[in-house]
Structure formats: structure tokens, C-alpha cells
Symmetry: C2
């Protein structure tokens, strides 16, 4: 059985849940409570030497880390429905949109970074929120421009079926809204996220639907 080691609010675990659901794959969930520090346990470090989530244990015993690498693995081993377009230019666009979120926004705003700001740099609550919103604004301004002006955009980030880009966007928007970053300035992002969330695969992956949702 495939097992996802994740956390209900982890954006990266949320991406993998959407991918598994879109592929129609059954999986167990083994929650790793990030608030209690379980990611630093010996058991989790054996799965994921960085002490992060998610890890995915496949039914043939592989332990995979890094959410985008996991999603590409699932796409290669279970090609239908595809998470990437058929053409190289389309794949490059989808990967760039996904990486805009996964390499430029999310890494700056995840829990370990916010903790470092507060605990090590003694940044106050207001400056922490300003940091969070700064990187959301930087990223979403660019993403909105790309999604609005580029011909590849359809009902989803690329065309009319969900791709790796949507798998990254939806969790990032969920996370941003938790920090009260509103999407009024981003009508194209809003439209696409609403379209995604109308799908069962996205709805079932939402944090509030997970067994460890607190």
C-alpha cells in the first residue's frame, strides 16, 4: 500500500494528495505533526533526512521525498490523467509555473522559516506577517501577470485539465488565505483556484478533510 507521511496543513503534502487523488490512487496517511516537532523524530529522519514532510512510501517499497519529484514520479508511473502537457514547451511552462510557487514563494514562508524569524532573529508578529505577505505579493503579482497574458492559460493554469502548476497553486492560495492575504488583486488566480476546487480530487485533498485536521 502507498503511504503518505504528511501533515494536513503542509502545502507540499497537499500537492501530493491532489496528485494521488487525480490519479485515482489509494493511499494510507501517516500524519507527522509539525507543531509537536515529530518531523525531527528518528523515524521521520530515517524517511526524510531533512526532517520535513512529505515522504511517500510506494507500494514497491521506495521512499520518495520532495513533493514535485514525487508528483513527477506518480505521473511517470501512472500516466493517466497526465499532470504535464504532451509538448516540451508546454511542460516547460507548467514546470516554471509550479516552480515559481515551489522555489520562490513557499520556501520562504514555511513553518521552519517563520520559526527562525521569531526565535532566532526575534522578529515581532507584525514584521513576520509583513515578511509572509511580501513573498506572496512578489510571487502572485508575477503569477497573475503570466496567467493573464500567456496564451497557454485555460480553465486551469495550462489548458483545460489540471497540471502540476495547479497542484502547487491551490495549496499556496489556501496557505496565503490563512495568513489573510486576500486575492482581490488576482482575479485570474482566483478563477483558476475556484475551478480546481470544484473538482472532487482537489476537495478531498484539502487540509480540513484530512484525518489529522485539528
Amino acid at each position: 500500500m502507498t503511504t503518505l507521511y504528511g501533515y494536513f496543513r503542509s502545502s507540499a503534502a497537499y500537492r501530493v494528495r491532489i496528485a494521488l487523488n487525480l490519479k485515482g490512487l489509494a493511499y494510507d496517511q501517516a500524519p507527522v505533526n509539525l507543531i509537536k516537532g515529530e518531523q525531527r523524530s528518528d523515524a521521520n529522519l530515517a524517511r526524510h533526512p531533512q526532517g520535513l514532510v512529505p515522504s511517500l512510501e510506494t507500494d514497491d517499497g521506495l521512499m520518495l521525498t520532495q513533493s514535485l519529484a514525487i508528483c513527477e514520479y506518480l505521473d511517470e508511473t501512472h500516466p493517466e490523467p497526465p499532470l504535464l502537457p504532451a509538448d516540451a514547451a508546454g511542460r516547460a511552462r507548467v514546470r516554471a509555473l509550479a516552480q515559481l510557487v515551489a522555489c520562490e514563494v513557499h520556501p520562504l514562508n514555511n513553518l521552519r522559516v517563520l520559526k527562525y524569524l521569531v526565535n532566532d532573529l526575534e522578529v515581532g508578529e507584525e514584521a513576520k506577517l509583513a515578511w509572509y505577505r511580501h513573498w506572496i505579493t512578489e510571487g502572485f503579482d508575477a503569477l497573475e501577470a503570466m496567467l493573464t497574458r500567456e496564451a497557454g492559460t485555460g480553465a486551469f493554469c495550462h489548458g483545460d485539465t489540471p497540471t502540476l502548476a495547479d497542484l502547487c497553486l491551490v495549496p499556496q492560495v489556501y496557505n496565503a488565505e490563512r495568513f489573510e492575504c486576500h486575492l482581490a488583486a488576482y482575479p485570474t488566480i482566483r478563477r483558476i483556484v475556484d475551478h480546481c476546487n470544484a473538482l472532487e480530487a482537489f476537495r478531498r485533498a484539502a487540509p480540513g478533510e484530512q484525518p489529522d485536521a485539528g
Copy 2:
């Protein structure tokens, strides 16, 4: 003609230079001076709405962003020599090693983030360096453990030919050494980087070899 819009010290541009060199592709370089703020110029924003580097303009007129997406595009359109292994499990491992650097280390330590720490959070020089070294240590500790214990490691991060993982590792090590993070604790990383840097494709991609090296 393929044109790389980059900056000699940008880790992300450095990755793309290595990929182009390994593939034996000729390219022009159009430097974007990050110290002078040229990344925020209208010309660069038209290429890259995030105001970052690199962008790659292909000989058929595509403008690509995000270094890992660019490298995968080059690998798909110019398959030899491959930057990813032939098997899905191997590809997942290589992408995870690459993303460990590209999603967990580099985004926290690039120029725009260090600037925010100094200008907006008024962090002093010593605390800025501690921040830098903290994320290098977190990332390299995990990477060293994975590279040392996993059977997939060879002369390079994965097997005996360079992959996407080496393309990320070498620029990150170059960057870390600029900030005086030493590699004594990371003998496997050191061995692999030295092995990479013995290759012409890596040597020619080094920051000091670029036309805009100051």
C-alpha cells in the same frame, strides 16, 4: 541563436550554463546585472515577470524561466547526454536531490532575501551570515547523509554521469564557499563537486569564466 539572460554569480543561471555546456549547445549570454538592479528593468520584466534571472530564449523564440524547468526542457529537446536516469525511481531520486538544493537551500539565501533581511528587518551583518549558514548547514547535512548512505550515489550524485542533481549542487557549493561555509564536514559532497569541476562543461560554466565576471 539561444540566448541566456543571466548573471555570473547567480546559482540558477550557473545551473543552466552547465546544462547547455553538457549538451554541447552554443549560446549567447546577455548579462543582467543584479547588483545594479537590472533585473527590475522593463526589458527583464518582459522576459521574466518575477524580475529574476535566468531566462533562456530558445532558437525558436520561446522565452523560458525557472532554471530546473529550463534544464528539463533542454534534456527533453536534446536528449544526449541525458541529465536524468532512464528509470522512474532514479529520476525521482535525482529530482529530489536537485530540489533539496533548489527548493530548500537556495531560495532562502539568494540576493533578494538577504537584501530583505538587511533593509526591511534591519538584521546586522553577523545575523545575516548566521542565517545564510543555518540554511546551508540544514541542507548540506541532509544531502551529505543521503549521498553517503544511498546506493544510487556514484562518482556523481547519481551514478557515474552528471545529472540535474550535480547541476544544482556545484553552484550551491560555489555560493556557500563565497560565504565562507566550509565543506570539511561534507566529504561526499566535496568529492562529487571536485569530480564535476574536473569536467570542461562545469569549468566553463563557473562564474569567474563569464563575460560579466567583475
